[in-house]
């Protein structure tokens, strides 16, 4: 009876390890780490026609963000990037974001 129990546990462990590995390979951990930033950017740029957050290293602290929005139109690149910094002020200040690359475009 005991042997069966152990087998059961071992089997379950094996299964969850396989599932975790599959989820990792599919890049779910990257989605998990980028979603909070995506939410903040969507709030700041509700008119965005392109909005993307990429976890560059998979470590959850080096990000590339891409924002294309009409509300960025007519602004200098410095002003456009400032809007992104403002939107992400909290994760920048608390150290969630260790490095940030920004690509912005204002559309007419």
């Amino acid at each position: 009876m005991r042997v069966y129990q152990f087998r059961h546990i071992r089997w379950r462990r094996k299964c969850s390890a396989v599932l975790l590995r599959r989820a990792y390979a599919a890049g779910y951990h990257r989605l998990v780490s980028t979603q909070p930033l995506r939410d903040l950017l969507e709030q700041a740029f509700p008119d965005a026609t392109e909005l993307d957050v990429i976890d560059r290293t998979g470590g959850g602290d080096h990000f590339q963000v891409v924002v294309t929005a009409p509300s960025l139109g007519g602004l200098s690149l410095v002003e456009q990037h400032r809007r992104v910094y403002e939107a992400l002020a909290t994760p920048l200040a608390d150290g969630t974001i260790h490095e940030l690359r920004i690509k912005t475009k204002g559309t007419p």
Binding site: L77, V78, H81, R82, Y85, L92, E99, L100, R101, I102, K103
Partner: protein, 119 residues
Amino acid sequence: MSYSDQIKDVIQTSDVALFMKGTPSFVMCGNSDRALQALRRAGAPVTAVDVLPDPQIRQELSAISGWPTIPQVFVKGELVGGADIVEELEQTGELGEKLQAALGEGYSDSREETTVALT
């Protein structure tokens, strides 16, 4: 002179000021390197300031410029941006145009690099 005064002095008196992690001969961060390389490709006469010796330098710089990250590039006292912007402007050729407009035709003749240490 306080850091703040020295920083303002470098920004206002340099043709091209680059606040970076490390120095041009020993760069300590990939993004600082990206900005430096873009400026070099454009032939900019760079005055570099290392922000690493004291965390206070970084804080006071960001308070002055309103820009949260390092590197920061200024041309004739005006903030041009960080590594992403400088790289983008260099690729489109706008960096060269900006430098020419601000510094004149022969801006790339000297190609000198100066390093300033804040004390």
